[in-house]
């Protein structure tokens, strides 16, 4: 009995420590250890802060991106927040492509952090403790798939002063944010129909750009591209051309491509960022180019040259 009590006291002490530091006990389910983490020791009224769902998978186990590809299932976070709090959407780091014999999926191996921005209300009383709860569900797959779930919580103390920062967690968050798709860049992305393929023409902001090991397009929607087919790129005069197979299950004519472009090189698209957000109309290549050629023989090149630095934002 005494041993049992000691154990309980230990737990109570541990929980007390957790409340103080903004950490909650991790949960292990479905070969994945999940935990809510923050970089701040406490929160300030009205000031948004980041909460991370830290997922650590067993060796050779994977969890999935928002579009899981041919198999799998995206991780879902359902927040249960104190009154007046708002939670933003999950900010997904770019995924990796996972090829199985007959299917291709998109997700994470090793570990990942899914960050959400939480905004507390302005009128929180100083010194009060706010309990953040999250019901998390995910699918982990190794050779087999296992659904995981966990109820996680985090108790955060409200302070009017600037909270102290947990540097190791801040570093982890910064590293994760580097893996978020860039929404502002000087690259220009154009997409064209090419029969059974999409051609993505990626125009570089400057004359010099390296040849990456790989470029991969990850679509937001599940039924736009053939996940299994290999994607192929080549360097062209003003950037890269990437050829992506259309999905046979694509519903109707696809007029818009939305997703993430991953570039495998150290410098990335710019400033070391290797993922670029894409949201662009799919154009009928032949029509556009023929029209331009009729207007003037080299008009196309001029249009491209002039569009280099000006149209800086790939988001349309």
């Amino acid at each position: 009995m005494a041993k049992k009590y000691r154990y309980l006291i230990g737990i109570i002490f541990f929980l007390a420590v957790c409340v103080g530091t903004g950490f909650a006990a991790p949960v292990k389910d479905a070969h994945t250890r999940v935990e809510l983490i923050t970089e701040v020791s406490g929160i300030q009224p009205g000031r948004p802060f980041w909460v991370g769902l830290h997922m650590k998978m067993d060796d050779k186990w994977q969890v999935y991106w928002k579009n899981p590809g041919d198999s799998g299932l995206a991780t879902v976070i359902q927040w249960e927040l104190p009154e007046g709090f708002n939670a933003g959407d999950i900010q997904w780091p770019f995924p990796i492509r996972m090829d199985y014999p007959e299917v291709t999926s998109y997700g994470y191996e090793g570990e990942t952090i899914l960050l959400c921005e939480l905004k507390p209300p302005a009128g929180l009383p100083d010194g009060s403790v706010q309990k953040i709860k999250a019901h998390v569900t995910w699918l982990a797959c190794g050779n087999i798939c296992v659904p995981g779930k966990a109820d996680l919580s985090l108790s955060l103390t409200v302070g009017l002063q600037e909270p102290s920062v947990n540097e190791p967690v801040r570093e982890m968050f910064k590293k994760t944010m580097m893996d978020w798709p860039l929404t502002q860049s000087d690259w220009v992305v154009k997409a064209y129909h090419e029969g059974e393929y999409f051609l993505l023409h990626l125009m570089a902001p400057q004359r010099r750009f390296s040849v990456p090991k790989q470029i991969e397009f990850f679509p937001d929607a599940n039924d736009v591209i053939d996940h299994k087919a290999s994607q192929s790129f080549r360097k062209v005069a003003d950037g890269y051309d990437l050829v992506v197979s259309k999905s046979s299950a694509a519903k109707g004519d696809i007029s818009q491509l939305k997703g993430v472009l991953f570039l495998d090189s150290d410098e990335g698209w710019q400033e070391g960022r290797r993922a670029l957000a894409v949201d662009t109309a799919v154009l009928d290549k032949s029509t556009e180019e023929e029209a331009l050629e009729k207007a003037a023989p080299s008009a196309l090149n001029r249009v491209r040259a002039s569009s280099f630095p000006s149209n800086g934002n790939v988001e349309k």
Binding site: L73, E102, T137, L139, V236, S245, E289, E290
Partner: protein, 204 residues
């Protein structure tokens, strides 16, 4: 077309021939489905051609996959099997898990499990070498196909519209197989013939 465009066109044409052997489903909705012959878990020979003149549903399953469990533990799959086999539709459930992989059971075990779960399929086939699975391009469990009486493939895809492992999702989902079979039984054509199947990868 200028030279650059023409060159690019040929690059793509060549790549499509060499680099991208198209890996999409081996079948096309609207075209003839391939025939197959196999011995089911009760030792009966099964083939599509034996059922010529009837609608045939092919259901890929793996009893240990959470997405399949959702439809069997809720009774959804058995309900569909019962409803449509009673109306003369042939329903064949196929397990393509290879020996040693998840969901692999020998025919006797598979028979016992199907009975335990109250499955109402016309026949259950253990396809451990993956021959039928690959022939049809079955990607996930579940993955559903419907073949029309003259052998035309009329549906290829998901069981329903909500990918997930939670039984509560079933009530709010559009069941594509049910929609398609109801339309066919009423003499209408299938509105949605091709969807993206969801689930576990088939354990070939």
């Amino acid at each position: 077309m200028n030279i650059r465009v023409r060159a690019l066109f040929w690059v793509i044409v060549l790549m499509s021939a060499v680099v991208f052997p198209r890996q999409t489903a081996a079948l096309t909705v609207g075209e003839q489905a391939p025939d197959f012959t196999a011995v089911d878990i009760n030792g009966q020979e099964q083939s599509w051609s034996a059922y010529k003149g009837k609608y045939v549903v092919l259901e890929w399953f793996n009893f240990d996959c959470p997405f399949v469990k959702k439809h069997y533990e809720s009774g959804n799959m058995q309900r569909l099997q019962k409803k449509y086999t009673e109306q003369g539709i042939i329903w064949i459930s196929i397990c393509s898990s290879a020996a040693g992989k998840q969901g692999y059971y020998n025919p006797q075990e598979l028979s016992r499990l199907a009975q335990e779960k109250g499955a109402n399929a016309t026949a259950v086939i253990q396809d451990a070498d993956g021959a039928i699975g690959r022939l049809y391009g079955a990607k996930t469990t579940p993955h559903m196909f419907i073949i029309a009486p003259l052998g035309r493939l009329v549906y290829d895809g998901a069981i329903d519209s909500i990918p997930g492992t939670d039984q509560e999702e079933i009530a709010g989902a559009i069941n594509y197989v049910q929609e398609a079979l109801n339309a066919l039984l009423q003499g209408r054509s299938v509105a949605v013939g091709l969807t993206k199947s969801y689930g576990c990868s088939v354990k070939y």
